[in-house]
Symmetry: C2
Subunit: 249 residues, 2 copies
Amino acid sequence: MIFRQLFEGISSTYTYLIASEETGRALLVDPVLPTWQRDLEVISELGLSLAYTVETHIHADHITSAKMLKQEAGSRIAGPALDGLSCTEAPLADGIPFTVDDIGLEPIHTPGHTDNHLAYRVADRVLTGDALMIDGCGRTDFQNGDAGTLYDSVTGRLFALSDDTLVFPAHDYNGRHVSSIAQEKERNPRLGSGKTRSEFIEIMNDLNLPYPKFIDYAVPGNQDCGECPEDIPAHLEQYCGQMGESPQG
Amino acid sequence: MIFRQLFEGISSTYTYLIASEETGRALLVDPVLPTWQRDLEVISELGLSLAYTVETHIHADHITSAKMLKQEAGSRIAGPALDGLSCTEAPLADGIPFTVDDIGLEPIHTPGHTDNHLAYRVADRVLTGDALMIDGCGRTDFQNGDAGTLYDSVTGRLFALSDDTLVFPAHDYNGRHVSSIAQEKERNPRLGSGKTRSEFIEIMNDLNLPYPKFIDYAVPGNQDCGECPEDIPAHLEQYCGQMGESPQG
């Protein structure tokens, strides 16, 4: 299996490139609009072809490049079936393996950040999206988020994976790249280290985070699988990247 | 490839179990005397057989269980050729692959913590021993250690590995389990984040660490591939573990 972790700096998102060594067919999990050309360049350099983009959830902090990559590279769009998006071509559901040649993704329904969020287990690792991050987790105050539900998802589903499972989150804001289930169980200050459900709910209720500055554009844009809103204010245009340029320049 | 990270709490050492899925033959990298029975139990539970123990260097903080495991499980003893130990049956050297069935370890000479220290690259990961730890590194003030040499080893050899290479250190004192080359390049406060060689030397010179409490017993014990010294003081006996018991109790 080919596995690459790719970083997008505007929203601090990790996109994951996973490909079959045998056939060269690739998946991109959580690709981001401003880096769609970079992602295609990496795929090209490795001699791969992009078969699918895969979303963990409807993002509020960036717009997916799923639609752009479909247009430019012919990839198909996969994501949570529960989101019910008409643009999703491969709807994914808990426990039903999504396979591309010899690559198998196991979707794990992990609601709490959003209600339909999926994590994906693949080989010895799990892509945890915004459910579980290194020493942290996604916020639970929008998109039908719920702290108690997220606690149940992480402790009940993700912490049930084997301790050696590598944790690859959708974001990190401090330069960390990878963790493990054992590590998060032991020292995640919100969800691990013996924290109870009620302690976690209190932690999340007390975060007092600012209103997400891009959410009003990102959510509708992602419900359309990656349409950059036309009414986007100038100071947020960087979130849409260089949409007009082709990957060859 | 089967891969397990096992923790020994007295010296906060990670022992790595690596085995061929096809043949079931296993390696233990840096096994520790107090946990030799636990390690054999894990090997037994997984239906494996222990072919080799492998040292990254002559440890100063614990005694290897190499000799005990040879006696109890029939494993052979591998370690740095440069150490010149008469008890080492498989001497390993920089760049010469050490293979057990379909498992291939690539030794990388990484002096600085000790002069003969080897890291081992295996598949998409590197076991960095005491040369590179998560957000840190081993000390450089004993066993022919040298800060400038360690800087050259880490930045010249380990940071030359691909960014996605997973970093598995021999120790962590804060519950962290895994990192990546990209992560250490970006944020290791001693060796990454743009630190120069002279800045690193200054950092290491200013650590003012206490004299290692077990070094006077560990080094001769490890030069004999895992002999617990007879004159060990009572308060250090825990470092030798339950040497007399067989794994079946």
